[in-house]
């Protein structure tokens, strides 16, 4: 069974038809890249998966999105529970204006977990997973805003890992970072794949080809082509895909 299934998904913002009839199936422990020009709907589609679009006025969706076989838009689903299973990392690092420690444990604190030894362990574990522990272990109580952009983004990933999701959505996670920080994030994605299902939106074609197993190409709200990354980047079926990945438009 697929980890995530989208069936005939359409999204409207008022009169605007943003996502058109998208069918997509994503397997567990894979990295899927969403590529496509700005405004093609890839970010909107990503945000459907943890229901971050719910706050947008005039938002309307048809079709089903199933995670582990369950419809995530079902009335019985508590959106907070969904987001514990489906974590998200944003384009611009957005640590809370609090200490490094408090950033990591926030997701647990709001679940009511108070046990200090458990929180301490989660902090150490999560920061180790994103290779930040060595850099910050002596200043956990310092403000997260004092970290560099790349460190902040890794902290945001650690914060997401702390609530133990099974899927991690990443919305251009490296686009605001310098090349070295960006490379660290890419390495991290490859490592995280073993335990998580990752979906990443990116503008950077090289990045998509480096980190992902599957690639989905969106254009004007439609899913033009979806397949193995190797295939998409070497012998795409559709001419539109060919034109986009060779940089003829974008």
């Amino acid at each position: 069974m697929a980890k995530l299934d989208a069936e005939k998904v359409n999204v409207y913002y008022g009169d605007h038809h943003i996502i058109k009839d998208v069918n997509l199936s994503i397997q567990e422990n894979t990295v899927t890249a969403f590529i496509g020009p700005s405004g093609c709907g890839k970010s909107t589609f990503l945000r459907l998966l943890n229901r971050m679009n719910d706050y947008i006025e005039n938002f309307k969706k048809t079709g089903d999105i199933l995670i582990d076989g369950g419809d995530i838009y079902d009335k019985k689903v508590r959106v907070e529970d969904l987001r514990k299973r489906v974590g998200m990392v944003f384009q611009k690092p957005n640590p809370f204006p609090k200490s490094i420690y408090e950033n990591v444990v926030y997701g647990l604190r709001i679940q009511g977990i108070k046990d200090k030894s458990k929180l301490d362990a989660v902090v150490e574990n999560s920061l180790k997973k994103v290779a930040l522990w060595g850099e910050v272990k002596d200043k956990l109580q310092q403000s997260a805003l004092a970290l560099s952009g790349g460190q902040q983004q890794r902290l945001c990933i650690a914060r997401t890992l702390a609530v133990e999701p099974t899927i991690i959505l990443m919305d251009e996670p490296a686009s605001a970072l310098d090349p070295i920080s960006s490379a660290k994030i890419e390495d991290l994605i490859s490592e995280l794949k073993e335990n998580f299902t990752i979906i990443i939106v990116t503008h950077n074609m090289q990045q998509a080809s480096r980190v992902s197993d599957k690639t989905a190409f969106f254009y004007l709200g439609e899913l033009v082509e979806f397949g193995d990354t190797d295939q998409i980047f070497t012998k795409p079926v559709k001419e539109l895909t060919q034109n986009y990945i060779t940089g003829r438009f974008g």
Partner: protein
Amino acid sequence: MKQKFDINRFKDNMFKYFGLACTLFGLAVLSIFLINILIEGLGRLNWQFFSSLPSRMPEKSGILICLLGSIWIMVLTAIIAVPLGVASGIFLEEYGKKNKIASFIEINISNLAGVPSIIYGLLALEIFVRILGLGKSLLAGSLTLSLLILPIIIVSTREAIKAVPKSIREASYALGGTKWQTIRFQVLPAASGGLLTGVILAISRAVGESAPLIVIGALLYITTIPTSPMDDFAVMPIQIFNWLSRPQKGFIENATAAIIVLLLITFIMNGLAIYLRNRWQKKIKW
């Protein structure tokens, strides 16, 4: 071409000096006022002035009762207006739907902030003093001033909340936070600088008000220290008003001394507001 350039430059300079003159004018008037007050009133500021009850003799009277009255009013007004105002601000900004009713309410709240204070006094006279039967008590006065500063607190709360970037809320939601958790643990702490600034400025406005309190009948000669919210009271601005309306020179002196105290209170509160704002701006950079 050259000539045109010179004319523009001349205009530019003219405006600079005009602006400078305007600024200096304001400062000059303010300093003349302050110096005048200080010369007349500073000599009167001693322990006796702070610790005495009002009296028929100017040299024996003091501000004890009205100072305590002002402190009572400050505290009660804060207790009433801050939770109400902050909660309304949060509701309007975070929960309220953006529709016609919402924008109607929004415009009216902004308008309320500009309604002359004496009108609040009239409203309070009818509702608090007569219908609710609170009389000329501290509670009635605080409720009146709460009405007056509620719109200010609501508007500044909304501004402070609006300044918190969307990315912080999204981060909290994405980690499984509910709306209230997001507001309670992220938005309010991040907005607290602006929020406190607005609250302090609003309360310092309330402390300086006299018109609405005069309307509800707080223009009394009080000789007992207020000990409960239901007691009659006097406040600093009303005591100043009282003394200024007396013919004796000594009372005028008392009034100027009381003005110095009142100015000091407002300066301290505004200073605190500025300090808090700067501190938070330094602490939180997005």
